[in-house]
Assembly symmetry: C2
Homo-oligomer: 141 residues x 2
């Protein structure tokens, strides 16, 4: 079980804290969200409410899908709709303290994991990149 | 060095072959590429030429960036520009046979690696997901 134990030593380094995770509000309109996602270039980001609760995930393709219709690529509907209408809500979340086996298992299908506290307040994310760095450390032992 | 050796046993399973990797042509126009990326939902895909050579990578945010201007979100310029004008070209590529240490190192910063042959013909991709599956296998030993 040496992989797990090596990770346990580095646990506190995996979390990217909420303060530096780009996000949008569930009540933002889609034109605003389009601008944010285009500028920051992250492919998928958390959606929060006005009390920092985690609500879902949003990507540019979810917004772009609403622009496809009878009139080609049409952005005119974006100001009339909110993030919460189209965001992805079936999202696994984890809480501290980590269960490294659960993290490794979930990161097979998720590029990042959303960390919340017991009240669903958004705490941060754990990314595949942080785990991959850990493997490079382990592999060089 | 047991991590490397466990991976070497599974080498042939990592490659996602070119035939099932979504891609666009460098001469496609951006409105077409916008549709493709919106529909397939992969966040970044390879760009090829008409002889299957790897040319670069394209994401929806690269296209969306061209739509931001004086007139809000404007799709009217998309039919007049080609993928090759905006694609990302500083992309690391690897060749078979794999060097697993190189793969683990590059996958820290790349969600997937582009595999080409010696003539730059696109062969497939190696994804973080395939490596994460390998780790789960290893961790359960
Ligand atoms: N500005 C940047 N600086 C340096 N490297 C960058 C970067 N943007 C992307 N990358 C690299 O590309 C990978 C995929 O990014 P993506 O945005 O598709 O997918 C990201 C994104 O959806 C989310 N994410 C990561 N950091 C974030 C942040 N600070 N705010 C919001 N979302 C974040 O987690 C996913 C996985 O991230 P991970 O770090 O494992 O993997 C990242 C990282 O290795
Ligand atoms: N249709 C789908 N079915 C099942 N799972 C899906 C999926 N679309 C996305 N995922 C999951 O989300 C991860 C990130 O996908 P993304 O499109 O941002 O980032 C992808 C995408 O940019 C590219 N990619 C993967 N497979 C591809 C394919 N068949 N064609 C084109 N690009 C692909 O490699 C990146 C990393 O892929 P990876 O598999 O490691 O990681 C994938 C996978 O775990």
């Amino acid at each position: 079980k040496s992989i797990e134990s090596l990770f346990e030593q580095r646990q506190d380094h995996f979390l990217i804290p909420a303060e530096i995770v780009a996000n949008v509000q569930e009540t933002n309109h889609l034109d605003h969200a389009f601008l944010v996602l285009t500028k920051i270039k992250y492919s998928k980001i958390p959606v929060l409410d006005n009390e920092q609760h985690f609500k879902g995930l949003l990507s540019l393709s979810m917004i772009a899908e609403t622009m496809l219709g009878m009139n080609g690529i049409d952005p005119s509907t974006l100001p009339r709709h909110q993030v919460r209408e189209i965001m992805q809500t079936d999202v696994p979340t984890i809480e501290l303290p980590y269960d490294i086996e659960e993290i490794l298992h979930l990161l097979v299908d998720q590029p990042f994991l959303v960390v919340v506290d017991k009240d669903q307040i958004f705490t941060g994310i754990v990314t595949r990149r942080e785990i991959m760095k850990g493997f490079n450390y382990t592999a060089h032992e």
